[in-house]
């Protein structure tokens, strides 16, 4: 979101957040400044700045005023020291936020109005507000990309199906849904890199929601056809399956001990290349891939374990042959 379109203070107020995510913000002053842009997903407690120390002052962050800062402001106002405020508002801060439903004195409001700096208020305590706002801004400012593919959740594993158009991504997803798995997004998957290592995928557009386009059928509504149990809003991408037309000249992985990965937004994700040809039941292969992925996460790697057993068996055969001093054992 932040790259082309600016994320403004008004956007922050307009965010549709629920219950434990709500910021409960409202604007109590400096309305003209609501179009100010928020450029960094971070907050600053302006205590030092209020006392007149401006070295390394992080003016470009959201300025958070808690009980302490508010008490200090009161003290300043009573003492009639308003130069500090003028100096504070000479920086183009995105906004000032007061927690605990606190509101500052008149001189603060007039300085804010004069500088067109929005003043917001929330009923949350400072610590709770900071952790919420940092999490929310972190999501908004996370690196983002859009991929042409289908995101499904199979046995709890988020699988991104990619491939050329017409290879059967949507049909595969439909069969997976029919078998009790969930659709996250069809065709256009928005991916955000959260916390630097988690790839969160979701549909690009709420209006289009969980619809799919199936050749020959047209556009279908998955929620209505299969129920709310068949959909999910977002899901971490844990496996990428590339579907491609069977190419007889290409060598496909036959053992599975080598693990392919692909990179999305700088994060490595396991990848499988699955050749498609009539008679190959792709949904069942994907289902099995998901279960195999779960096994791997639990520490059991089918292909490696199998190969180790073979090696162990060969070794014991060799040992036996050596022991009996026979070259033609068996």
């Amino acid at each position: 979101m932040p790259d082309e379109k600016k994320f403004t203070v008004l956007d922050l107020l307009d965010l549709d957040l629920k219950e434990q995510n709500a910021l409960n913000l409202r604007c109590i002053g400096g309305r003209k400044g609501l179009s100010r842009e928020i450029t960094t997903p971070d907050i600053n407690r302006p205590g030092l700045a209020l006392s007149g120390f401006y070295e390394s002052h992080a003016w470009n962050r959201l300025q958070l005023f808690g009980r302490g800062e508010n008490a200090f402001l009161k003290m300043l106002e009573e003492a009639g020291k308003t130069d500090n405020l003028e100096k504070l508002f000479s920086y183009p801060m995105p906004c000032c936020i007061f927690t605990h439903n606190l509101s500052p004195g008149k001189s603060f409001f007039s300085a804010a109005e004069a500088a067109d700096c929005p003043v917001l208020q929330t009923d949350l305590p400072s610590s709770e507000f900071s952790s919420r706002v940092l999490r929310i801004l972190g999501d908004i400012f996370a690196p983002q990309t859009t991929i042409h593919g289908v995101l499904v959740e199979v046995y709890g594993i988020g699988i991104l199906l990619i491939g050329d158009s017409g290879v059967g991504k949507s049909e595969t997803a439909l069969e997976l849904i029919e078998r009790g798995h969930r659709l996250v997004a069809d065709d256009v998957v928005d991916i955000r890199c959260v916390n630097g290592s988690i790839l969160m995928g979701q549909g690009a557009n709420k209006v289009i929601g969980h619809h799919m386009e199936i050749r020959g059928l047209g556009i279908i509504n998955i929620t209505h056809l299969f129920g709310v149990g068949a959909i999910r809003d977002k899901k971490q991408i844990q496996l990428v399956c590339g579907l491609e037309e069977w190419d007889s000249s290409k060598v496909y992985d036959r053992i599975g001990t080598e693990e392919l990965t692909t990179e999305i937004l700088g994060v490595r994700v396991a990848k499988l290349e699955i050749p498609v040809k009539p008679g190959r039941n792709i949904p069942i292969i994907i289902e099995t891939a998901a279960m195999n992925e779960r096994l791997k996460k639990m520490g059991y790697h089918s292909a490696k374990e199998f190969n180790q057993n073979v090696l162990r068996w060969l070794e014991s055969e060799n040992a036996r042959a050596l022991y009996f001093n026979r070259d033609d054992y068996l």
Partner: protein
Amino acid sequence: MTEVTVSIKNRAGIHARPAALIVQTASKFASNVWLEKGTDRINAKSIMGIITLGASFGTPIRILAEGKDEEAAAAAIQALFEARFEED
């Protein structure tokens, strides 16, 4: 890579029927075709993708094509935009 910029000339914007027309046209060509609105780039062979763009009347759209028949592909899609998707 062939690149053409067009704007949407039919009042209703790109809804389901124009999206289907674009996909049908794009699918006739071997080249990869994309549509771009602002920073969003989507595959022009995907109906849901095109609808997701949310392209309304007057929006500038960039047509990008890459492949052996890219010029013909871009021209065919440009013609659809110019003909207002046979609407209005």
